[in-house]
Symmetry: C2
Subunit: 350 residues, 2 copies
């Protein structure tokens, strides 16, 4: 087997800082477990616009094809807001090229985390659901798209097979969880949503052990705040998933710590924290790398089946967090201090 | 001047119960203030489908044109979910015919209401913002709309004048509030959102005293939960407004009490509570009519400039609520008992 290849995209804002932290930690851990990951860093997003005039180069796409996994920090920032082609276009292009059709975002509020949630404890506690967001279609990619001074148009389109693929994924995921799938749509208004409902109802008989229900997106936005424990697996379209998964992250009170995983049918998966590039705090050595580290842990587990290295990292991080925390969680630790502590802890544990 | 004409649409589910309550209360109040409102009840939504085969009849549209205001409870229910034309289509048709382009939904958490909020007190307190939702365009109405077994399509379209009309409304509203407008969009992805930003920036110089900022819809969904006090006036598209205003209602913990007002450029306004038809509790005499009553109060104030009758109702309702509450707010009062108490209180106050 070849040495596992990971394309690493630090991107913009705090991205390079948290990516450097994560690479150091993986490197410390792989010395313990004697695995060798080969990292290939590439420019992506705003920094790629600055260097090459485009957010997503052909060279990067070729490199991604040669990779076993892609690790991404975050892209974007006010600097490129008025560019014709923005960093975000690179992100959408990467998702499309990699065909990462399912984006998974966990919302879990542990007993220890209840105090950080903006929700009252009795509402927050025991929340544990996963949003499965469709990532390569819908209004993000639909044509025609059109901008003129007098009118603008976006198109939300879904093909049946795009829907059935992700609904099937959600049913299978629910089999390993609490066997409850909620399809979120706006079927009382949108034609695309009606197709989502019809496809979900058609596939359901193949998974008779799964409870299937439907929520309108407005009602779901309400319930995530009022009674989040009722959800297990939420599956929804690209746009609704974007909105609801950020709302769901907010109820944890720990946006900086949440990882995500985007699944490809036949290429490498994409792992990234759910937070953005936070240009306002970039370069200050206060960014929280936990979401990025957790994304790397997911990658080790799901792409490389390397539970050993993942464990080494998780164990060390838990130990460090018992003593102090990154600044955004109310602690004293700078990005580099936190990283250094974890690396030292890894060496001590070994 | 002619006797003021109010078209009343009880609709479906709990709608007829809360509308009956509200009419009784207005009638009790107008005896005190010696005003005469003329009510014209009409079938609308599911009950109109049952009676006439369509949710919105020409007779209703003609009646609306003759009205000074329209008071609507709620429409829809599982009974009509698989009909070709559903009650919701009637609602969209009514909004379009009335040209009610701006839907206003207040989110206010008073000191007394903090304990009902699912948010921790320190986050909920002092929340007071208004969502101005565009109501007659966007993906709710865009063409082409298309449903087939293999693919479905919806279209989000906005014309410049549709955007400038509602942005202007939001700036003017903010002048009477805290002079802060937040445009919520997804300008990093959508062409229509880019037009929203451009139009808002163009109009802003006419309102130099107003602070204007922009939020992506996913970030806004986060901030409504994390730090809702930061908002004053949020203005946004039809779909984003639908989602965010329900999320905003959820943080008050009192969805049953929130009214809304939809503004027409040159016809009657439409007043309705933000909650739905709640078919699960229909006919049980436990529906909370407060959102409906508050909508009627808004109507008296804004359409009829009748502060006297509005005051009589509000004063009586506050007095009753100090003693007991409707069931959904944790009290003992059935719909009819609550209504009766308010009517009695009105008579006693006079
Ligand atoms: C940056 C933006 C284009 C992106 C999206 O909307 O998908 C982000 O919000 C996300 O959720 O990953
Ligand atoms: C019933 C439905 C069509 C409606 C909407 O989406 O506008 C409702 O959710 C609302 O907000 O008034």
């Amino acid at each position: 087997m070849h040495e596992p290849i990971i394309t690493v995209l630090g991107g913009d804002g705090i991205g390079p800082e948290i990516m450097a932290a994560t690479r150091q930690i993986i490197q410390a851990a792989q010395q313990v477990t004697q695995v060798n990951y080969h990292f290939v860093p590439m420019a992506f997003g705003g920094c790629s616009i600055d260097q090459f005039g485009e957010p997503l180069t052909d060279a990067l796409l070729a490199q991604v094809k040669r990779s076993d996994a892609v690790l991404l920090a975050a892209v974007g920032g006010p600097k490129w807001d008025h560019y014709d082609v923005r960093p975000e276009a690179g992100l959408l292009g990467l998702r499309a090229a990699m065909q990462v059709y399912a984006n998974l975002r966990p919302t879990k509020i542990t007993a220890a985390a209840v105090k950080r949630s903006p929700l009252k404890a009795e509402i927050a506690q025991n929340t544990n659901f996963m949003i499965v967001r469709e990532l390569t279609s819908g209004i993000y990619f639909g044509k025609p798209r059109h901008y003129a001074a007098t009118q603008a148009v976006d198109t939300m389109a879904y093909a049946r097979n795009e829907i059935s693929r992700i609904i099937t994924y959600a049913f299978q995921l629910a089999q390993q969880r609490d066997r409850h799938v909620t399809v979120v749509d706006k079927a009382n208004v949108l034609a695309t949503s009606k197709l989502w409902r019809d496809v979900a109802e058609e596939i359901h008989p193949q998974y008779p052990e799964i409870t299937l229900d439907f929520e309108y997106v407005d009602a779901a936005a309400m319930k995530i705040v009022k009674s989040p424990q009722q959800f297990d697996v939420i599956v929804t379209s690209n746009l609704f998933g974007d909105i609801l998964s950020d709302e769901a992250a907010a109820i944890t009170g720990s946006i900086g710590t949440i990882p995500s995983e985007s699944i490809s049918e036949n290429g490498p998966n994409l792992y990234e924290p759910i937070h953005g590039s936070a240009p306002d705090i970039a370069g200050q050595n206060i960014a929280d790398p936990i979401g990025m580290i957790n994304s790397a842990v997911l990658m080790l587990q799901h792409t490389f089946n390397d539970q050993a290295t993942a464990n080494v990292i998780e164990r060390a991080m838990v130990a460090v967090l018992q003593q102090d925390q990154p600044v955004d969680l109310g602690g004293q630790l700078s990005t580099t201090a936190f990283t250094q502590r974890i690396c030292t802890q890894i060496q001590q544990n070994s």
